[in-house]
Symmetry: C2
Protein backbone atom coordinates (compact mmCIF):
# COMPACT_ATOMS: atom_id res chain seq x y z
CA UNK A 1 0.00 0.00 0.00
CA UNK A 2 1.75 3.07 -1.25
CA UNK A 3 0.51 6.33 0.11
CA UNK A 4 2.19 9.62 -0.51
CA UNK A 5 1.65 10.90 2.98
CA UNK A 6 -1.76 9.72 4.03
CA UNK A 7 -4.83 10.09 1.92
CA UNK A 8 -5.91 13.24 3.63
CA UNK A 9 -2.62 14.99 3.29
CA UNK A 10 -2.86 16.30 6.80
CA UNK A 11 -0.87 19.26 7.98
CA UNK A 12 1.42 17.12 10.04
CA UNK A 13 2.69 15.10 7.11
CA UNK A 14 5.35 17.62 6.26
CA UNK A 15 6.39 17.94 9.86
CA UNK A 16 6.93 14.23 10.05
CA UNK A 17 8.81 13.67 6.88
CA UNK A 18 10.87 16.76 7.36
CA UNK A 19 12.27 15.27 10.51
CA UNK A 20 12.90 11.95 8.88
CA UNK A 21 10.10 10.06 10.52
CA UNK A 22 7.82 7.76 8.64
CA UNK A 23 4.17 8.57 8.61
CA UNK A 24 2.87 5.13 9.37
CA UNK A 25 -0.60 3.78 9.77
CA UNK A 26 -0.33 3.64 13.58
CA UNK A 27 0.92 7.17 13.83
CA UNK A 28 -1.83 8.42 11.57
CA UNK A 29 -4.36 6.66 13.75
CA UNK A 30 -3.07 8.27 16.93
CA UNK A 31 -3.01 11.68 15.32
CA UNK A 32 -6.51 11.17 13.98
CA UNK A 33 -7.79 10.39 17.44
CA UNK A 34 -6.00 13.31 19.02
CA UNK A 35 -7.26 15.74 16.43
CA UNK A 36 -10.83 14.63 16.87
CA UNK A 37 -11.23 15.18 20.57
CA UNK A 38 -11.14 18.05 22.93
CA UNK A 39 -10.72 16.05 26.07
CA UNK A 40 -7.47 15.13 27.68
CA UNK A 41 -7.02 11.49 26.86
CA UNK A 42 -4.74 9.03 28.55
CA UNK A 43 -2.65 6.61 26.55
CA UNK A 44 -5.08 3.85 27.31
CA UNK A 45 -8.03 5.92 26.21
CA UNK A 46 -6.28 6.87 23.02
CA UNK A 47 -5.51 3.23 22.45
CA UNK A 48 -9.15 2.30 22.86
CA UNK A 49 -10.22 4.83 20.28
CA UNK A 50 -7.48 3.83 17.93
CA UNK A 51 -8.58 0.26 18.37
CA UNK A 52 -11.97 1.00 16.88
CA UNK A 53 -10.39 2.40 13.75
CA UNK A 54 -7.50 0.01 13.55
CA UNK A 55 -7.66 -3.01 15.82
CA UNK A 56 -4.24 -4.18 14.81
CA UNK A 57 -2.45 -1.22 16.32
CA UNK A 58 -0.87 -2.18 19.61
CA UNK A 59 -0.74 -0.32 22.85
CA UNK A 60 3.02 0.01 22.77
CA UNK A 61 2.83 1.72 19.43
CA UNK A 62 0.44 4.21 20.90
CA UNK A 63 2.88 4.88 23.71
CA UNK A 64 5.77 5.14 21.30
CA UNK A 65 3.89 7.46 19.01
CA UNK A 66 2.87 9.70 21.86
CA UNK A 67 6.44 9.88 23.07
CA UNK A 68 7.54 10.89 19.61
CA UNK A 69 4.81 13.47 19.22
CA UNK A 70 5.72 15.04 22.52
CA UNK A 71 9.36 15.07 21.54
CA UNK A 72 8.77 16.89 18.28
CA UNK A 73 6.41 19.29 19.97
CA UNK A 74 3.16 18.33 18.29
CA UNK A 75 1.64 17.09 21.50
CA UNK A 76 1.72 18.17 25.14
CA UNK A 77 1.86 15.71 27.97
CA UNK A 78 0.21 16.51 31.27
CA UNK A 79 -0.09 15.12 34.72
CA UNK A 80 -3.35 15.94 36.43
CA UNK A 81 -2.70 13.85 39.47
CA UNK A 82 -4.60 10.74 38.52
CA UNK A 83 -1.51 8.67 38.08
CA UNK A 84 -1.47 8.56 34.33
CA UNK A 85 -0.23 10.92 31.69
CA UNK A 86 -2.69 12.74 29.52
CA UNK A 87 -2.11 14.10 26.08
CA UNK A 88 -3.30 17.02 24.06
CA UNK A 89 -2.61 18.10 20.51
CA UNK A 90 -1.15 21.51 19.77
CA UNK A 91 -0.62 23.79 22.72
CA UNK A 92 2.66 25.51 21.98
CA UNK A 93 3.30 28.58 24.11
CA UNK A 94 2.85 30.79 21.09
CA UNK A 95 0.11 28.71 19.53
CA UNK A 96 -3.33 30.06 18.88
CA UNK A 97 -5.00 27.75 21.34
CA UNK A 98 -2.67 28.27 24.25
CA UNK A 99 -4.52 27.70 27.47
CA UNK A 100 -4.18 26.43 30.99
CA UNK A 101 -6.08 23.89 33.00
CA UNK A 102 -8.56 23.85 35.80
CA UNK A 103 -8.62 20.46 37.49
CA UNK A 104 -11.38 19.21 39.75
CA UNK A 105 -9.82 17.21 42.53
CA UNK A 106 -13.14 15.54 43.13
CA UNK A 107 -13.97 13.94 39.82
CA UNK A 108 -10.81 14.62 37.84
CA UNK A 109 -12.57 16.71 35.24
CA UNK A 110 -10.29 19.11 33.41
CA UNK A 111 -11.35 22.42 31.92
CA UNK A 112 -9.34 24.55 29.57
CA UNK A 113 -9.38 28.24 30.20
CA UNK A 114 -7.85 31.19 28.45
CA UNK A 115 -8.86 33.99 30.78
CA UNK A 116 -6.06 36.36 31.66
CA UNK A 117 -3.75 34.46 29.36
CA UNK A 118 -2.33 37.69 28.02
CA UNK A 119 -1.50 39.06 31.42
CA UNK A 120 -0.09 35.75 32.41
CA UNK A 121 2.12 35.68 29.40
CA UNK A 122 3.37 39.14 30.18
CA UNK A 123 4.25 38.23 33.74
CA UNK A 124 5.70 34.93 32.68
CA UNK A 125 7.93 36.57 30.14
CA UNK A 126 9.25 38.92 32.74
CA UNK A 127 9.75 36.09 35.17
CA UNK A 128 11.40 33.91 32.61
CA UNK A 129 13.80 36.65 31.72
CA UNK A 130 14.76 37.25 35.32
CA UNK A 131 15.07 33.61 36.17
CA UNK A 132 17.11 32.89 33.09
CA UNK A 133 19.64 35.44 34.11
CA UNK A 134 19.63 34.79 37.83
CA UNK A 135 19.78 31.03 37.75
CA UNK A 136 21.45 30.46 34.42
CA UNK A 137 18.47 28.57 33.14
CA UNK A 138 17.35 28.63 29.55
CA UNK A 139 13.63 28.43 30.07
CA UNK A 140 11.69 26.58 27.44
CA UNK A 141 8.29 26.03 28.88
CA UNK A 142 5.99 26.64 31.77
CA UNK A 143 3.02 25.07 33.42
CA UNK A 144 0.12 26.67 35.20
CA UNK A 145 -2.71 24.72 36.69
CA UNK A 146 -5.50 25.47 39.09
CA UNK A 147 -7.00 22.88 41.35
CA UNK A 148 -10.37 23.01 42.94
CA UNK A 149 -13.76 21.45 43.28
CA UNK A 150 -16.34 21.72 40.57
CA UNK A 151 -19.96 22.53 41.20
CA UNK A 152 -21.21 19.02 40.78
CA UNK A 153 -18.66 17.68 43.23
CA UNK A 154 -19.20 20.36 45.84
CA UNK A 155 -22.91 19.64 45.68
CA UNK A 156 -22.08 16.28 47.11
CA UNK A 157 -22.78 14.26 44.02
CA UNK A 158 -19.37 12.66 44.20
CA UNK A 159 -18.86 8.97 44.82
CA UNK A 160 -18.33 8.14 48.46
CA UNK A 161 -20.32 9.69 51.28
Amino acid sequence: MQRRCGKKDNWWCGRFKGLGYKLTFSRQAVLDVLSNTDSHLSAEEIYQRVYKLAPKVGLSSVYRTLELLVEIGLVSKYDFGDRRSRYELGQGIQGDNHHHHLVCTGCGKVLNYTDFIDQELELLKKTEKALSKKYNFRITNHLIQFYGVCRRCSDGKTAGI
Copy 2:
Protein backbone atom coordinates in the same frame (compact mmCIF):
# COMPACT_ATOMS: atom_id res chain seq x y z
CA MET B 1 7.74 3.48 75.60
CA GLN B 2 5.71 6.46 76.71
CA ARG B 3 6.53 9.69 74.99
CA ARG B 4 4.43 12.75 75.45
CA CYS B 5 4.66 13.75 71.84
CA GLY B 6 8.16 12.95 70.76
CA LYS B 7 11.23 13.89 72.71
CA LYS B 8 11.79 17.05 70.76
CA ASP B 9 8.26 18.29 71.11
CA ASN B 10 8.23 19.37 67.52
CA TRP B 11 5.79 21.91 66.19
CA TRP B 12 3.84 19.30 64.34
CA CYS B 13 2.94 17.33 67.44
CA GLY B 14 -0.06 19.45 68.20
CA ARG B 15 -1.22 19.35 64.63
CA PHE B 16 -1.18 15.60 64.73
CA LYS B 17 -2.89 15.01 67.97
CA GLY B 18 -5.39 17.72 67.33
CA LEU B 19 -6.61 15.78 64.35
CA GLY B 20 -6.70 12.54 66.24
CA TYR B 21 -3.67 10.96 64.65
CA LYS B 22 -1.03 9.19 66.62
CA LEU B 23 2.45 10.53 66.44
CA THR B 24 4.23 7.28 65.85
CA PHE B 25 7.87 6.47 65.45
CA SER B 26 7.54 6.01 61.69
CA ARG B 27 5.77 9.28 61.24
CA GLN B 28 8.35 11.08 63.34
CA ALA B 29 11.06 9.57 61.21
CA VAL B 30 9.48 10.74 57.97
CA LEU B 31 8.94 14.21 59.37
CA ASP B 32 12.51 14.32 60.62
CA VAL B 33 13.82 13.50 57.19
CA LEU B 34 11.59 16.01 55.49
CA SER B 35 12.50 18.77 57.88
CA ASN B 36 16.20 18.17 57.42
CA THR B 37 16.45 18.51 53.69
CA ASP B 38 15.91 21.18 51.14
CA SER B 39 15.73 18.92 48.16
CA HIS B 40 12.60 17.42 46.71
CA LEU B 41 12.73 13.83 47.76
CA SER B 42 10.80 10.94 46.30
CA ALA B 43 9.13 8.37 48.51
CA GLU B 44 11.92 5.94 47.84
CA GLU B 45 14.57 8.51 48.75
CA ILE B 46 12.74 9.40 51.91
CA TYR B 47 12.54 5.74 52.73
CA GLN B 48 16.27 5.34 52.26
CA ARG B 49 17.01 8.18 54.64
CA VAL B 50 14.48 6.94 57.13
CA TYR B 51 16.10 3.54 56.88
CA LYS B 52 19.38 4.90 58.20
CA LEU B 53 17.69 6.27 61.27
CA ALA B 54 15.17 3.51 61.72
CA PRO B 55 15.74 0.39 59.64
CA LYS B 56 12.56 -1.20 60.84
CA VAL B 57 10.31 1.34 59.20
CA GLY B 58 8.81 -0.09 56.05
CA LEU B 59 8.33 1.50 52.68
CA SER B 60 4.57 1.29 52.83
CA SER B 61 4.56 3.20 56.06
CA VAL B 62 6.53 5.91 54.38
CA TYR B 63 3.97 6.03 51.60
CA ARG B 64 1.12 6.00 54.05
CA THR B 65 2.67 8.73 56.16
CA LEU B 66 3.28 10.89 53.14
CA GLU B 67 -0.28 10.45 52.01
CA LEU B 68 -1.46 11.52 55.44
CA LEU B 69 0.86 14.50 55.59
CA VAL B 70 -0.33 15.69 52.22
CA GLU B 71 -3.92 15.23 53.30
CA ILE B 72 -3.56 17.33 56.41
CA GLY B 73 -1.61 19.93 54.50
CA LEU B 74 1.76 19.60 56.16
CA VAL B 75 3.43 18.40 53.00
CA SER B 76 3.12 19.20 49.31
CA LYS B 77 3.32 16.57 46.62
CA TYR B 78 4.80 17.39 43.24
CA ASP B 79 5.27 15.82 39.89
CA PHE B 80 8.36 17.03 38.08
CA GLY B 81 8.01 14.71 35.15
CA ASP B 82 10.37 11.99 36.28
CA ARG B 83 7.61 9.56 36.87
CA ARG B 84 7.56 9.60 40.64
CA SER B 85 6.03 11.91 43.17
CA ARG B 86 8.23 14.23 45.15
CA TYR B 87 7.50 15.71 48.53
CA GLU B 88 8.27 18.91 50.31
CA LEU B 89 7.47 20.11 53.80
CA GLY B 90 5.54 23.32 54.40
CA GLN B 91 4.58 25.26 51.31
CA GLY B 92 1.08 26.44 52.00
CA ILE B 93 -0.09 29.16 49.64
CA GLN B 94 -0.03 31.65 52.47
CA GLY B 95 3.05 30.22 54.13
CA ASP B 96 6.22 32.15 54.59
CA ASN B 97 8.23 29.99 52.29
CA HIS B 98 5.82 29.89 49.40
CA HIS B 99 7.73 29.39 46.21
CA HIS B 100 7.59 27.84 42.78
CA HIS B 101 9.87 25.51 40.93
CA LEU B 102 12.31 25.67 38.10
CA VAL B 103 12.90 22.22 36.65
CA CYS B 104 15.82 21.26 34.45
CA THR B 105 14.58 18.86 31.81
CA GLY B 106 18.14 17.69 31.29
CA CYS B 107 19.21 16.48 34.70
CA GLY B 108 15.98 16.80 36.63
CA LYS B 109 17.39 19.29 39.08
CA VAL B 110 14.77 21.43 40.77
CA LEU B 111 15.32 24.97 42.03
CA ASN B 112 13.00 26.90 44.26
CA TYR B 113 12.46 30.51 43.37
CA THR B 114 10.50 33.32 44.93
CA ASP B 115 11.10 36.05 42.41
CA PHE B 116 7.95 37.85 41.35
CA ILE B 117 5.96 35.76 43.77
CA ASP B 118 4.01 38.77 44.89
CA GLN B 119 3.00 39.79 41.42
CA GLU B 120 2.21 36.23 40.62
CA LEU B 121 0.01 35.93 43.63
CA GLU B 122 -1.82 39.06 42.66
CA LEU B 123 -2.51 37.79 39.18
CA LEU B 124 -3.40 34.38 40.49
CA LYS B 125 -5.89 35.81 42.92
CA LYS B 126 -7.54 37.77 40.18
CA THR B 127 -7.61 34.71 37.95
CA GLU B 128 -8.92 32.51 40.68
CA LYS B 129 -11.71 34.88 41.38
CA ALA B 130 -12.73 35.08 37.76
CA LEU B 131 -12.48 31.37 37.17
CA SER B 132 -14.39 30.55 40.30
CA LYS B 133 -17.30 32.60 39.12
CA LYS B 134 -17.16 31.73 35.46
CA TYR B 135 -16.74 28.00 35.80
CA ASN B 136 -18.35 27.40 39.15
CA PHE B 137 -15.15 26.07 40.60
CA ARG B 138 -14.10 26.54 44.20
CA ILE B 139 -10.37 26.90 43.65
CA THR B 140 -8.19 25.55 46.39
CA ASN B 141 -4.72 25.48 44.99
CA HIS B 142 -2.53 26.28 42.04
CA LEU B 143 0.67 25.11 40.48
CA ILE B 144 3.28 27.04 38.58
CA GLN B 145 6.41 25.51 37.21
CA PHE B 146 9.03 26.54 34.75
CA TYR B 147 10.91 24.08 32.64
CA GLY B 148 14.23 24.65 31.03
CA VAL B 149 17.82 23.62 30.75
CA CYS B 150 20.34 24.45 33.41
CA ARG B 151 23.78 25.79 32.68
CA ARG B 152 25.57 22.55 33.29
CA CYS B 153 23.25 20.67 30.97
CA SER B 154 23.34 23.23 28.20
CA ASP B 155 27.13 23.11 28.34
CA GLY B 156 26.81 19.57 27.10
CA LYS B 157 27.87 17.94 30.31
CA THR B 158 24.77 15.78 30.28
CA ALA B 159 24.91 12.05 29.89
CA GLY B 160 24.61 10.91 26.32
CA ILE B 161 26.41 12.62 23.41
